[in-house]
Amino acid sequence: MPEEHPLIEMEREIAGGDFQRAGDVSSELKNILQRAGFPPAFNRRVVIASYEAEMNVVIHAYRGVFRARVYSDRVHVEIDDQGPGIPDLELAFQEGYSTAPPHIREMGFGAGYGLSNMKKCSDVLVIDTRVQEGTKVVMDFFLSPSNS
């Protein structure tokens, strides 16, 4: 089967530590999905998972690239960062596990729910991480007949 062309492609940089602009990328994706006319419940899961991943780059990494490809019946999202990587992925997925420093917790983040929430919201989640190099998060979201 030939690879289907995406309807919309998006590529944006994410700057680590930039809390002023944190969320801009997921917000832009939200607008794109809304304009494309996907059901709100579907958009919600794509946007929540993207925002969690975007915030992880802002909070834990140095810089990253966010790519989204929107097809008629699915959305593919990749977030590729340069950063410390995740030494123990299984541990990182545990709810409540977080290495976020106090100033991040004061903002309301760092409860250690992000990765499990990304898993919950996406249909496929693959993480490739290398310590002291970076982390790549790939997520796929399929529009199901039940409209979410």
């Binding site: 944190a22 709100p40 903002m107 309301g108 983040f109 929430n117």
Partner: protein, 120 residues
Amino acid sequence: MTLREIKEILEAEVLVGEEFLDREIWYACGSDLLSDVLAFAKEHALLLTGLTNSQVIRTAEMIDLLGIVFVRGKRPEHSTIELAALKGIPLLTTRLPMYESCGRLYLKGLKGCSEFGSNA
């Protein structure tokens, strides 16, 4: 219940978004943990929080929150209020602390966002 009713119950002041006071709110959650809000909030929900940074507005945008109430008289910076105006998210502030704010709304029948129990 509408945001307007919530404003009265909490004796709250509207910081921005007067035009949205007729929005119908189905659920509320009271939290200072945005991670929790992102993981558990439902649709048609209101957030009560003591946090006033701009990520509260961002989080609200991502999960389509219908409004935010800052408790204990907290007020965000002007730039945060502007961001909420841009995103169409009404902001209210009440002098009541978190527990009392949630308690008053709950007594009036506004359900929680929790996935557990009878309102699941």
